[in-house]
């Protein structure tokens, strides 16, 4: 039987995975931007980015950012001295915050496309 997951280990796992994704995205992000030499290339990219599929990709990336940010806030608060007794409520609160922000922002986000 697999080792049983619990709130803390799940939070840690998604924190890790999103962290790795974001770091690799960061590398790509900087690399791409640094190769835009002129306005037309930039605008070309920007137009390309308006593709709905890429927009959804961006939205997923945004989710990864939110997850990573809130998982990070939870850990940092605990490390700063917040009681470990509330580590689970903190995690649930984080889930709620991520969901709300993602849905609300995603709405505005997609409005731009459609």
């Amino acid at each position: 039987m697999r080792y049983r997951w619990n709130t803390g280990s799940l939070a840690w796992l998604v924190h890790r995975i999103t962290g790795v994704i974001l770091t690799f995205y960061l590398i790509a992000h900087i690399f791409v931007l640094s190769h835009l030499k002129n306005p037309s290339a930039y605008d070309q990219l920007m137009n390309f980015m308006k593709n709905p599929i890429l927009k959804i990709g961006e939205l997923l990336l945004f989710a990864a950012v939110l997850i990573h940010v809130f998982a990070g806030i939870r850990i940092t608060l605990l490390e700063a001295g917040l009681s470990t007794k509330i580590q689970k409520p903190l995690a649930y609160l984080g889930v709620v915050a991520v969901a709300v922000i993602w849905i609300v922002c995603g709405f505005f986000f997609l409005m731009e496309v459609f």
Binding site: T7, G8, G81
Partner: protein, 238 residues
Amino acid sequence: MSKFYTFRIKRYLPEESPSSRWDEFRIKLESMERVLDGLIKIKENLDGTLTFRKSCAHGVCGSCAMKINGLNRLACQTLVKDLPELIEIEPLPSLPVIKDLVVDMTLFFEKNDRVLPYLINDDPPPERERIQSQEDQHKILESITCIMCGSCTTSCPVFWADKEYLGPSALLKAYRFLFDTRDKATDSRLERITGEHGVWRCHSIFNCVEVCPKEIDITKHILKIKRLAVKKGFKGGD
């Protein structure tokens, strides 16, 4: 009230076969009996080769830690009535298995030895006891209840991957002395535990807290060590 339980046990008998296998035993147990009672009954009546450690049988010696239904626990402290009818038992994860449910704890104890696990105070001792306020004693109260069963360290995903990591148990031991007002070796102890595979590898996963049979909030203690190291402006590794 008695009921039949199926014990599904991961067996490893190195002299019979180099690979492990699963065996199932069906036994009748009273609701207040413990998993350890079940194992003993199996050994006595069904299969004498079944091997596990045991000693005090009431959760103070730490011998019988094992993975029961996906969680590390003490077999002597887990009542069968709190488990489903199918009880799946494996040795503690991530340590080499010697036989059946017996793991080689050498690595686990070595971690412990690395944190200077003893009170160091070279001042000439006073004639009577060293004075320690109740408040100061309470700071270490939780940490001294550790029985070194190994449940915490072997439940830690960081330890599963990184065998050089000190692990929750050793860090808790370090805490027990770092926060004992009578101990004078704070700096050398911090130096021992702040290396690359030391305290910073704790990611507050809380698996250790979930399984501690003594209900010690180990993560809380590790976080306190981190804050102490920061407060001391400690320059050890990362």
